[in-house]
Symmetry: D3
Subunit: 268 residues, 6 copies
């Protein structure tokens, strides 16, 4: 791709117009601005989405929209600096972005959620309803590290929940100056008394029977006063590199597959 | 419990008032009215939620609200008889129900989703935001067969997606007169060409890397013309019994635990 | 009709598809879950809608959707067990249901309101706006006992307001096990000092000049502490039978007329 | 009342402040801008609300807000000049007005609907919900000619529906220069074939069993091409005078009663 | 124009239908009901819009809709008598009015805002979005004294902010009986300490660097206890006449130009 | 300030907590992603907001939130790459951000709008209503180059409208690699035939009487096919430097003033 950048905001509309002559894929990185414990910066989830999107875009020669720095983070609101959109606001931002770009020819959107899990209610709602009720001709894919990185999660040595070993490693690898590595928590919150024996302890984990109990930001401040749920002392730049590259590689493969994809019923 | 019924709608307000003197738990069964292939009735998901809720309530001596028969089922809308609420409508119904009952003393809600997965965006949105922004003193738990029945899913012999072996077995066990058992599909839709190599094929499955592609009802009618995605020929009353009892047992254990639960930060 | 049930939720989509080849009428029963005094169960209005709809459907060979158990009942919210939707939520549920079923060919909806009067603001709003702005080709009819049963109301011997003689009789006839017949109130609330000399005292009554004053649930608990407004001691199974049969008969006649109806401007 | 006007818009805020020292009642006239056949002006309903409100206010010494000229009139939209608000818009206007005036001490609102019947869904929704959920201390009354004038309706000689004998007489009496009296329709639309044998033919009428069928503006233009549904040839200034005075008299009596009213539970 | 009135509400639909045969322009006056200090009536902004619209309409032979008496006036809400719509409510009213009239052929709307500045967020939102997303064929123009009267503002002798010299003069000229001319404030509020050295002091003023600080009604009552921000002692009937005539003249010229205007891209 | 960054996203929540011990000001840069002609990148407005906010924050030692890259840009939607939020979406994002940060102690928000003018309807709506109805204790200021840079606008040599001399110069100074300086338009669109003789031609201009006509994206593509409205051939790095520094200087002075500001009624 001869375009001077993969980032839409750095291009002129004429350059985007040229891109659309041969390609209709675009990536949309969505993060959050929420506390990530004593060691992680507030933008951690956004940096995750940005770095995955940017590296995949460069390898696969596709465009990326400017990032959405704000996500759905209500349970972190009692920690200063957290910015949480209402679920319906994030639905609206996503919907408006898709409509805007679809108008001139983008047809395949890959939404990269850096805020593992919690943004999914909003992003799923936006994608499902836009595709069903508004723009059936537009194809929408939703990517989340929890599902994209299943195959690599085994490299971690601890239970991964909020501000866990893998996401801290990821930041360390890509944005080392933003990690306060001297402050990595060495213990995890015991979630069973907090959220029942049916709690889903490891976000990357599987098989156990679980029931979700909802908690709010005041409660979270109570049971996780440092902000972190996890022992991230086993985090490392090398784990971050493997985790990042694995996700980027999966995403690049998906984008290449998507290039010729004609939708769920193909050319039928 | 000396109450004449576990169903709220069969009681007078004075009887409910008595119940609230010693207990504040209530179950809310949410289903759907959506096609379930040539053999399953449109109400299958609602019957699942109703039967799990009713049997658990009887064993654990708690109340159940009237069922919500309509869920979030957009991708089934091209099959006659399907009724789908907009996501925001289901959020609103759930929110209004919680507010109504919380007003007079119900404090612990267990939402039983019979419509595996797809209702979760709406139900999660409702629960998370009500607990964070509106009624922090009300505890909300969300139950879904996909997570409640992980430990029993191994009894099935086929890949389980929409109208799959386990949910068909469940209906067969509890509502045998509603199954057209002579019409059980014997083949499954191959979802890889439809939704990419990153498709999540088995709803009860785990570990594989996945990316979600959204499809709409017109496309679904195209790639799954019978309405079923799954081979349910291995369904049986016995599997339905084991699946049902396993979920009810888990749920009863959870309700008993919930009885003395004082929230994520307990009495602290 | 060779269909195995009049209830949509008990049919498969293929059976509904067959039905639509020769008929496009469907009934939608809407009730409430609200207190009905010391003798009536919380689901009374829903049972009214369900029983009228089911019996009319069987006689007229048409389908019925699953019932909506929740209505617009704000003034009952101070009585435990009452569940009230916001007006706009009930509008949305009704609108979504009509859109869903219209998509595959239902063209004539008969909404059966069991919650006399109070649901009408929401149901009227939904019907009027869907028919004007969204689906002009879909015909919508709204049925309410207050208007359907004018001609039989004379059989009652007392002033009928909330939890009155006729609606209690109706429940008694159709669901005798759900009435606490030993607890029927023998006195009525005097509404003149509560709601002005211009109050409309008898819901089935006519001619008097009236002005509506709105009251809320806290006030209602104050002026009607048992929950009932009415003396229902004259209620009887026989009156319930006559009331029910009269309404079902009217409804069946209407449905038969509707079968060949081509809309307000007919074939013009 | 020493105030220079009953109309709020003609007073300064200091004069209103003085008024609030001894009185908290205010009237809110709501009309419509919708076609009223070949003889009636588009503002007819608004003029009805304005004239009733103004004359009652002068007799009872209370204030009136500026009028709301736009109502909920979707079925008239195919006649040029009709302006219809969405139902939710009229709810919002009413809600905002009540909140604004309640903030500084108005406690008793009498809403005068000049647009018989059709505005009631919106106005009822606003009043019921504001009083239940938002401002329980504010008392709300809703007045409509259909209910306020039951006792005088017998003076008319024809069936009264849209643009009928009484409302035309009313305009003629109060705003004679706005009636095109030479164009009064002499025939009525036969509504039975249009809206079923269960149609409610006379808006002031009672007793007959009825079911509502909704029609839209395109259909109305078809079945009532002049815009009028009614034979208004029997209209007269004298009938208008009697109809107007009867309503004003009722309203004045109500306002006087309201002055000492302390709400549904009084001083209890 | 042979029509009996420029006011839509005084015409029948058939007369409007005739008008539409040769003209598609209509004016929509939007005001407010908000305090205007000790001398000005609450309706001042509405009277401004009404008088400009009516006089321009008469000179240019175009129609005017009924006025909207309520605007977006939150910062005046602590002064009795003020009625403020939520911004989204005013957007909705404007949108609904445009849709209604566009349906039968009005194509050019001139919105006359009498409430200088503050209504513009709502009116701009309505116009911009209706023209972009809903009715691109409808042309919308927005008129505000702050921009329409730039060339005449030099006649005033004092700084003009809320209830300032020019708007008071305007009322005095057109509605002399509504001004309490003996109560005109002789001093202005010094806004620099209230709203920073970057405050925009004179609403008709230009060139100075400014930053907007938002204030609410409680604060306004604090820093401007009479309700007026301005010294209006220099107001006069003659200035009102010149100000009014200047605006009407501009507006008439604009309407005449609009008559042959074919939109931003003309006949291209 | 000993904080490692002025950007919130680069800090941990504990660092933000420290900041709040002595300061409660935060800047929020809001831009757009919209076409800026053949020479300007799509992110131009966002870069303007980001650079002004960052430089002022560094000089005044205050924090900046992550930028909002998407604004209200409907009229640019026919140019590929433009992303426009609905007005209400931008209102919601702004409102949610303020609520989130106010929760833990931020009290003074300075919103930096880089998208001259067009975002103001949304940002004004958010600020005015949050301060009036939701968070009266939070002070909100709104900065826009059109008003902040009045005193320096005289340096430009051409009429400034979309993609004009000053905003192009600004980008050139701060982000020289993002300007396609070889493609600067040398002619401007003549807006009089497009938007009437009452058009407001120069966004920085003043005094002329004007009336706003709304145009949409399709029309804009027609009358301004390159996307630019302006002759920006006189743009230069030096003008950009002066324009930028002037705004930053004003903003720093404002922030220093704001530091001790106690609201419109001060400590009274």
């Amino acid at each position: 791709m001869p375009l001077p950048s993969v980032w839409l905001q750095e291009l002129t509309w004429e350059e985007v117009s040229d891109y659309l002559k041969t390609e209709t894929i675009i990536l949309f990185p969505v993060g959050s601005t929420e506390q990530h414990g004593p060691a992680g910066p507030l933008g951690l989830d956004s940096y995750a989405a940005i770095s995955i999107a940017e590296d995949a875009a460069k390898q696969a020669d596709v465009l990326v929209t400017p990032p959405m720095w704000f996500g759905d983070s209500p349970h972190h609101l009692d920690f200063p600096g957290t910015i949480s959109l209402r679920t319906e606001t994030l639905v609206a931002v996503t919907r408006d972005l898709i409509h805007s770009l679809a108008r001139n020819g983008f047809r395949k959107f890959v939404i990269i959620n850096g805020h593992k899990g919690t943004n999914l209610a909003a992003l799923t709602t936006a994608c499902r309803n836009v595709h069903q009720y508004e723009l059936p001709e537009v194809l929408l894919a939703l990517v989340d590290p929890l599902f994209l990185a299943k195959g690599i999660a085994g490299i971690k040595e601890s239970v991964e929940h909020h501000a866990g070993e893998l996401e801290i490693s990821h930041l360390w690898y890509k944005y080392p100056h933003l990690l306060r590595s001297g402050k990595l928590p060495q213990t995890a919150v015991d979630l069973e008394p907090v959220l029942s024996p049916f709690v889903h302890k490891d976000l990357f984990g599987g098989g156990k029977d679980s029931i979700e109990i909802f908690w709010n930001s005041k409660e979270q401040r109570g049971f996780a006063p440092t902000g972190s749920f996890s022992d991230s002392s086993k985090a490392s730049v090398e784990k971050g590199r493997r985790y990042h590259d694995y996700m980027v590689n999966n995403l690049v493969n998906f984008i290449r597959w998507l290039r010729t994809y004609q939708g769920p019923v193909g050319g039928r």
